[in-house]
Symmetry: C2
Subunit: 241 residues, 2 copies
């Protein structure tokens, strides 16, 4: 392996960069809770506006949460699996190209570096170094030509469960009032209050974890909920008339 | 700018690589139609199982499609906007680091190349070439250290509308039978037939466009719809009892 020389190492240790990364699990929770808090809430609000009973609203809401959790969870799992298959296919193809047409692959490395104003006499040694190290060369092509990251096989399943559970948890918030309050109109009031509160709190946390202004994120998240339920309410009234 | 020398150019022209890219619009259509075909279908099936009338089913279905389209569309738009803000912040920070602590940044370039088995005497000229070209250096850090792509400002809005419209189109398929068929049980049969058909066709097309086996993709897509509606049906029966 190449060595980073002493003075470089010293500079790297002195200066640690603090680039923000949300984390894949946080991202999946955000995806699940965002939709979970919004769509079941809007559906329940819309049906309340159409004068449906608490019983129907709960039936529709819970059916929607079950369907949504499966669609997002199972759909996300299959999508992650197909990305893993795609990576494996591209890896095999690059390996084959390195084995059968190394000069063309070397030309691609040259082209990548040339884009950054590096002259042939400057990038030449780097290209040669890669040619002598086929494993490193393959990694380089996957990352810098194809821009693909090696997927973690556990992630597909983890991601599916995280999103599905987050959706169920999110969806429970607007629906719980309808479990306890018989009169749909009163349950609606309670649902609006707890859900808008939850949207604000969740939006704030989301902003905090993703490095965006938390207050602004809280307001945006609550706004989506309000717009979605207004649309659902309006459509439900329109269908009923 | 650096020049790719003549023999390299010749090799690049001779050998064109056909790496598959699904396209961002295709990806958004897939996202929208996948959920749109699945969740409204499952909701309608679930409510039919709970013996709701065609009128209630249509009300719930259309309200859910409106809410879902807004949640996905508006949510996707705000997510894309915050990614653009994140990119702008990281760009400013890298630029500042290049201006104020160039030696540390140069050490990072060295570290990136050293990972691929490139020795200091081999990557040295590349590092120096970048130091002489601050704009190229900044691009290099954004792409190879932070792995961030410059987002297209039009994409956020495009993406939002594409997903939202795709969701509405997808959701219309399982709901249309309930518009024309008064008796919910009969509408359910028609809805199941057209939706499973649509899921198979859409799944096939999705597989074709994403480079995955189309028949397998068709079956997986239909399976998600079946599992989601079975879950919705089961939950709806459970709530009604």
């Amino acid at each position: 392996m190449g060595t980073v020389c002493e003075s470089d190492k010293y500079l790297l240790n002195r200066h640690t960069e603090n680039h923000f990364t949300a984390g894949e699990i946080v991202r999946d929770v955000i995806i699940g809770v965002s939709d979970g808090l919004t769509v079941p809430f809007a559906l329940a609000a819309g049906l309340s506006g159409a004068n449906a009973s608490s019983s129907i609203i709960l039936t529709a809401g819970i059916a929607e949460v079950a369907a949504g959790a499966i669609s997002m969870g199972l759909g996300g799992y299959l999508a992650a699996k197909s990305e893993a298959d795609h990576y494996a296919r591209e890896l095999r193809r690059e390996q084959e190209e390195i084995d059968t047409i190394p000069d063309s692959e070397a030309a691609e490395v040259a082209e990548i570096l040339a884009e950054y104003g590096v002259e042939p006499h400057e990038y030449g040694p780097v290209v040669n170094a890669l040619r002598k190290n086929p494993q490193a060369w393959l990694d380089f092509m996957m990352k810098f030509e194809l821009r693909l990251e090696k997927p973690d096989p556990k992630r597909a399943l983890q991601s599916a469960f995280t999103i599905a559970i987050a959706y169920v948890v999110g969806g429970s918030v607007p629906l719980l009032p309808y479990v306890f309050i018989r009169v749909a109109q009163k349950a609606l009031v309670a649902s609006v209050i707890v859900t808008i509160l939850a949207l604000l709190i969740f939006g704030f946390a989301k902003g905090y974890f993703t490095g965006n202004k938390p207050v602004w994120s809280a307001l945006q998240t609550a706004l989506i909920g309000v717009v979605a339920s207004a649309a659902a309410f309006g459509m439900a009234k329109a269908v009923q008339s």
